[in-house]
């Protein structure tokens, strides 16, 4: 529903926002303008990410008007390539034909056109005529050797040229593979590495000029092995995907689900290009085979999700319900998809799985041996460091563990023995590590096994601070099952959540209390709230709340709400600065924690929102109160008691979630002064610096009472909700939830002639929360969310 009051949305200063305020700024990047040629999925996505970072970008395409169309299309794509709509304004579209002069002032030109060396060289030759001296040119090729690209283009071009290989989609995938040629200037490489890392937020991995670089080379081998072995050993697609999933740490799509996702017809292209460039003796080339079933599927247009189904498909059941079907690899027909029932799948230990005699175990063993031996044989051919290889597979294929981490999990000696048993060669690096492991922790520091036979610290660039490293070095200052407190050094402590999905529970609240008490006693001078989980926090543990509600433990629940409110106030009112550093989702209670921090340093990929109405509740930990204050204190919002209420109501009643840190600023979930970090690995260091910058002269913020419209405002909101209900846009229970939200936001029995204090508003939040929790419709919503992950529209 929409209840606009005419207040203009706050325009965010793109450039300023991306740089954390008041901290030692690293030297600005020499790259101030970027050109991207080729507006396909990759080129357009790269351009969008450059724009996201606040850097102007020219996007050219061979099709007249193609770049403009691609930019337009990206505003509607989900997941969105742009972090905010305004970022699209930094993209200047144009045609290659006649548009090349637009690149004249670009410091970096990325080529992402068709994968044909001649076409690329032709384009480069034309670029030489327009680009400015000292600018860098790179190709996003994934198949063509660098040497083939620079051929015949002269020394100057070769010095300015490298390969920058992004992963799809460029905004969300954190890997950037960079390949330099023998002639590439060190400054060119340094400038792109720095820009990719700090500005675009990517982990830049140096690769050798070998086909497929790191991730696609090893990933390609893994896919080939995972497919072939599944056919050979007679596994069902579900079984194969399940073995690949949790046990090996591959995303749960496994291999067949992944093929459906990326398109099965991609396979022959990858195979052809690898075959063309790799030696005949390469294990990948040796393993290539014609798969009649896959060939037939491609011929019939069954190419996966984009086509007419793939290894999995969905069919309408008799009752109209959607039924998951899976391909029988032996008959080629679809059958009802079933949960795999292999004894080996119950095993948690990877080696035990690989030693299990059933087909799941034999499959795991075979794929592990193929993939890990291949990877071990490729260092130093494709990269100098096993740590780089692992990082590439984690970030480029979303594996939980890289190949060398997997080797450590099964044991390097075990792998070598298993290879020998099968009469296969043991790669030299594997033989060299012998009974040891590829990683070790020495004096609290993580080290990897180098090709020289010695261990070396896994390098962390300046400005990268990882909680994982801290945790290796030290014991927590305090810890319980849900959260811990760590010493970051320099008098800054870090509060880490580590419950499942970082859901907030009594343990989290307890740890907040402990942290505040410790800080008050002078244990540290600033606090950062941060964790390295997928999600900062998905909000309060609603499973716990639902169970407590089902056994009518109302007193306990209300007590927890009250303790939570107290914890939020204590974060804000503590005599030291508190900085929130989220990445991923910060929803519900997770968002409320950020709302009570003195400052937030957010990863650009932060998804923040007050989503309580989705489960039939309202924010109860001061979220309503703080949003009212944010809008009331916003200089650009219209004056008077109603506009802040309407704004907060609009956002909370529709459970809006910011899809980036920039959107969060537009929604006032973040302040204009809050910082945004693009590289996740740099978030904690930025947050710590931000916290330290606030220490001197710190005073907790003053909390002023509000003037709220009271019953008349509530009636106005109720009318708007009724209209939405009449239009079928609000369900019956939406009306109930909205009324409680309206009552809370308008100050209950108070009106604009008197002041409403924070304590009164918090009491209203509690009352509404408890009243809603006692309704069967809210309980049904909570239950539905827990069981399906989707909101119930009742």
């Amino acid at each position: 529903m929409s209840l606009t009051t005419g207040a203009p949305m706050v325009e965010t200063e793109l450039r300023a926002a991306s740089v954390p305020a008041a901290q030692a700024k690293p030297a600005a990047s020499p790259i101030r303008k970027v050109g991207v040629i080729g507006a396909g999925v990759m080129g357009a996505g790269i351009a969008a990410q450059v724009a996201n970072a606040g850097v102007p970008v020219v996007l050219l395409d061979i099709v007249p008007g193609g770049a403009a169309k691609a930019t337009e299309r990206m505003l509607k794509t989900d997941p969105a390539p742009f972090m905010q709509k305004a970022a699209a304004r930094l993209v200047t579209p144009g045609d290659i034909e006649g548009g090349l002069p637009l690149l004249a002032d670009c410091d970096w030109i990325v080529e992402a056109i068709v994968e044909r060396p001649d076409a690329k060289r032709d384009l480069y030759a034309k670029l030489e005529a327009v680009r400015k001296p000292g600018s860098v040119v790179s190709s996003n090729t994934s198949t063509i050797p660098l040497s083939a690209l620079t051929q015949g283009l002269g020394e100057v071009f070769a010095a300015d040229f490298l390969i920058t290989h992004f992963f799809n989609p460029p905004r969300y995938m954190r890997l950037l593979e960079v390949v330099q040629g023998p002639a590439t200037r060190a400054e060119a490489l340094a400038a792109i590495t720095d820009f990719g890392d700090r500005v675009l937020g990517k982990t830049v991995i140096p690769c050798k000029d070998r086909p497929g670089f790191i991730a696609n080379r090893i990933g390609g081998m893994w896919m080939q092995s995972a497919i072939n072995r599944a056919f050979d050993l007679g596994l069902t697609v579900e079984e194969a995907d399940a073995v690949m999933g949790r046990p090996m740490g591959v995303p749960k799509t496994g291999v067949f689900g992944l093929l459906d996702l990326v398109g099965i017809d991609l396979m022959p292209h990858v195979a052809a290009s690898m075959k063309a460039t790799l030696p005949e003796t390469d294990a990948y080339v040796l393993g290539l085979r014609d798969n009649a079933l896959i060939t037939r599927m491609i011929a019939e247009g069954r190419t996966g999700r984009k086509g007419k189904g793939g290894f999995y498909t969905r069919e309408k059941g008799a009752g109209g319900e959607s039924l998951k079907r899976a391909l029988d690899l032996t008959t080629g027909d679809y059958r009802a998809s079933d949960k795999p029932q292999l004894e080996s799948l119950a095993l948690r230990d990877l080696r035990a799985l690989a030693e299990h005699p059933d087909r799941g175990g034999r499959y795991a063993r075979a794929v592990l041996l193929d993939t890990l031996a291949y990877a071990a044989a490729l260092v130093p051919e494709i990269a100098d460091s096993v740590a780089d290889v692992d990082a590439a597979m984690r970030l480029g294929y979303n594996w939980k563990y890289g190949p060398f981490e997997l080797i450590d999990r099964v044991g390097a000696a075990w792998l070598a023995r298993a290879l020998a048993e099968d009469g296969r060669p043991v790669p030299p690096l594997l033989a060299q590590v012998a009974e040891g492991s590829f990683y070790r922790v020495q004096d609290g520091a993580l080290e990897y096994f180098g090709t020289d036979g010695g261990y070396h610290a896994v390098p962390r660039p300046a400005g990268v601070l990882l909680l994982a490293d801290i945790k290796r070095r030290a014991k927590p200052l305090a810890r319980n099952g849900s959260a811990s407190l760590w010493d970051l050094g320099d008098g800054v402590a870090c509060l880490e959540f580590h419950s499942k999905m970082n859901a907030l529970d009594p343990g989290t609240v307890e740890m907040i209390g402990k942290a505040i008490a410790m800080g008050r006693k002078g244990g540290f001078k600033a606090l950062v709230i941060h964790n390295e989980g997928e999600q900062f926090s998905v909000g309060a543990n609603i499973g716990l709340a639902l169970f407590a509600a089902n056994i009518a433990a109302w007193g306990e629940i209300e007590g927890l709400i009250e303790q939570g409110q107290k914890a939020m106030r204590s974060l804000r009112d503590a005599p030291f600065p508190v900085v929130g550093a989220p990445s991923g989702m910060a929803l519900g209670g997770g968002c409320e924690i950020l709302l009570h921090c003195d400052a937030v340093q957010a990863h650009a990929e932060s998804y923040i929102g007050l989503v309580e109405v989705g489960v039939g509740l309202i924010p109860g930990w001061g979220g309503c109160t703080t949003m009212l204050r944010r809008w009331a204190e916003n200089p650009r919002a219209p004056k008077g008691p109603m506009p802040p209420v309407a704004k907060a109501f609009e956002m909370i009643s529709t459970a809006q979630v910011a899809k980036s840190a920039f959107e969060a600023k537009e929604m006032l979930l973040l302040r204009p002064t809050d910082g945004i970090t693009f590289n996740r690995d740099r978030l904690l260091a930025d947050a710590k610096a931000r916290a330290l910058s606030l220490v001197e002269g710190y005073a907790p913020p003053e909390v002023k009472p509000l003037r709220l419209p009271g019953a008349s405002g509530r009636a106005a909101l109720a009318m708007a909700v009724q209209q939405q209900a009449a239009l079928g846009r609000a369900t019956p229970h939406d009306v109930v939830v909205c009324d409680h939200l309206a009552e809370t936001l308008t100050g209950g029995r108070k009106d604009h002639t008197e002041e409403t204090t924070e304590a009164e508003l918090h009491a209203l939040e509690r009352r509404s929360f408890m009243a809603l929790l006692k309704t069967p419709a809210t309980l049904a919503r909570v239950e539905h969310m827990l069981e399906t992950g989707r909101p119930l529209r009742n």
């Binding site: 029932q341 169970f547 089902n550 056994i551 009518a552 309980l779």
Partner: protein, 590 residues
């Protein structure tokens, strides 16, 4: 010889006043339910049980069943009694009118079941098993299977069995070995051995319809690979009459501690012809859909035994004179006082009575919710009622059968040495009751079902169907001075149950061993609290009335609150102590 008079007054009270027939009458097919319809049914059932079934109980126990050349004979009088039973319409009481049933709700049927179980538990097994088979076919059978089997099962002409257990597996049915091979004509050939099959073979009915769990050739391993088949003893001919003998035979009768008149058979299937019921590999879930009802039925068996043990203990305690009362002589005209006056005898009798009536009250509440869960037109209401039934089923099964055993023990104790003498019949109740704690899922399994399946299901939604109404009742009654003596203890036990439930759920989530270690004590804690709720509700009703029945109700309610409910305190302590001592004990040291 034991005597039995059905507790009709109390049955009418729990049906009409406690559960209340208003909600029942709002259900389709139950519009006519009321004293005019129900009282004659109950009275007739009471008469049949006392006059026909009870006299066969002792003799049936002495004679047992016999097996000769594959033919099983039930004890003398059983075939005649069974014919009279089905001709009087007792097999069709609760059955579907579409297949010749009378369609009475469970709320009435459960009371009749209790009477049968009191009078002759062994006899009750035969129609009880038929009911299970009827449910399986009516829920999962094809229209043809329904048309063929249901009318005969309903009329009692044919009887049914449930063939689950095999020599090497009972609780863990994933291990079964019986095979079913498609015959190509839509039927299957079933081969394997089953044991402990109640009513597997007998001389009461014209045909026996076996519901058999078996594995198809392509079955996945474990419980997800079990299918359900119907295998008739005689293959029905075109006109639905029993035809040629099927290859299913009784190879042995078990010699048991009790329920000796119930034929517990070892069955051999040798390429017997059978037909799939429901979907392939979904046999276990098909069985589970009727598991609740079967388990409630076993709970009622416990209740039935407890009732008859109580009645005969009271009769003996009035009759037997021994010593003088501690409160002074009570029967000066006799050489000694009846033992009824002794406090410890009174303790035993009141314990039996309070638990028995408490169970009956709970069974009435559960039966009503069962009826709502299957008959109400609104799916949301059906679900809410079903939640309660799901939750209470393991509690009722375990607590009621424990009550049956405890009452049988106490009954023997009141009788002293004479309780141990076979001719007096009291020890038979103990022997008969003992199996109810074991079959249809041991009471330990019930406890695991409660903590493992019922507690956490849907975020604890089943619990809501109990905790919310009980809290509402406490809040509504807490200001009534006359109710204080019932509400205070109830509220205390309820608070304890809330706390312990939260603990068990949390610990169980972290560590299933903890849930398992807490299960049995937790179930009893829950059961006693539920019973306290039933007793408090009965007390509220009794306070408004003023005859001897209600006075006794109030007095029994007081006894329950003061002398039984405090057990919840020790149960809570046991649960909260955790499973450490169970876990740490060395296996080798046992």
């Amino acid at each position: 010889m034991p005597t039995y008079a059905a507790p009709l007054r109390d049955m009418r009270f729990v049906l009409n006043e406690l559960a209340g027939t208003d909600r029942l009458r709002a259900l389709p097919g139950c519009e006519e339910i009321g004293p005019d319809l129900v009282d004659p049914v109950l009275e007739e059932a009471a008469k049949f049980c006392s006059e026909v079934l009870l006299p066969l109980n002792r003799s049936g126990d002495e004679e047992g069943c016999t097996l000769e050349n594959g033919v099983v004979r039930t004890p003398r009088g059983f075939p005649e009694a069974y014919r009279a039973f089905r001709e009087a319409g007792w097999t069709s009481l609760g059955a579907d009118p579409d297949y010749g049933g009378q369609g009475l709700p469970k709320s009435v049927g459960m009371l009749v079941e209790e009477m049968i179980c009191s009078a002759n538990l062994s006899f009750g097994m035969y129609p009880g098993l038929s009911h299970g088979a009827t449910m399986a076919i009516s829920k999962h059978g094809t229209p043809e299977q329904k048309a063929l089997y249901l009318p005969k099962l309903t009329s009692g002409e044919w009887s049914g069995t449930m063939c689950l257990t095999e020599p090497h597996c009972g609780t863990d049915l994933g291990l079964i070995r019986t095979k079913a091979v498609p015959a190509g004509d839509g039927s299957h050939r079933i081969t394997g051995n089953k044991i402990f099959i109640s009513a597997g073979e007998h001389d009461l009915a014209d045909n026996i319809v076996h519901l058999v769990l078996a594995k198809l050739p392509d079955a996945p391993p474990g419980t997800r690979g079990i299918s359900l088949f119907v295998v008739p003893k005689f293959l029905p001919s075109e006109d639905g009459r029993p035809g040629p003998r099927n290859a299913v035979t009784c190879t042995g009768l078990e010699h048991k501690m009790g329920i000796k008149a119930s034929a517990t058979c070892a069955m051999a299937f040798d390429e017997a012809k059978g037909w799939l019921v429901g979907r392939p590999h979904k046999g276990l879930s098909a069985m589970f859909t009727m598991m609740n009802e079967a388990r409630l039925g076993v709970g009622v068996q416990g209740l039935g035994i407890a009732e008859i043990a109580y009645q005969n203990a009271v009769a003996y305690a009035r009759d037997r004179i021994q010593g003088r009362g501690l409160q002074g002589t009570q029967a000066p005209d006799r050489p000694a006082d009846p033992i009824l006056v002794h406090p410890d005898v009174r303790r035993m009798l009141l314990t039996m009575r309070a638990m028995t009536e408490g169970c009956r009250a709970l069974s009435a509440l559960a039966a009503l919710e069962h009826d709502v869960s299957v008959r109400h037109p609104d799916a949301a209401v059906r679900q809410q009622a079903d939640d309660f039934v799901q939750l209470m089923t393991p509690i009722i099964k375990a607590v009621f059968t424990d009550t049956g055993w405890d009452a049988a023990m106490l009954g023997m104790q009141v009788w002293g040495g004479h309780g141990y003498i076979r001719d007096n019949g009291m020890e038979q109740f103990a022997r008969d009751a003992r199996i109810t704690q074991i079959y249809e899922g041991t009471n330990g399994i019930q406890a695991l079902d409660l903590v493992g399946r019922k507690l956490g299901a849907h975020g604890g939604r089943y619990l809501r169907s109990f905790f919310h109404p009980v809290l509402a009742f406490i809040e509504a009654q807490q200001d009534a001075p006359a109710m204080e003596e019932f509400i205070l203890p109830l509220a205390k036990a309820f608070g304890r149950l809330q706390q312990v439930t939260g603990e068990v759920a949390q610990r169980g989530l972290r560590d299933p061993f903890e849930a398992g270690a807490a299960a049995t004590d937790y179930l009893r804690l829950f059961g006693l609290t539920a019973m306290a709720y039933a007793w408090a509700r009965m007390a509220a009703l009794a306070l408004e009335q003023d005859d001897a029945f209600y006075k006794a109700k109030l007095a029994t309610a007081r006894f329950f609150m003061q002398r039984i409910l405090p057990e919840t305190s020790s149960l809570a302590a046991k649960v909260l102590a955790g499973g450490e001592s169970l876990r740490e004990f060395e296996d080798a040291a046992f």
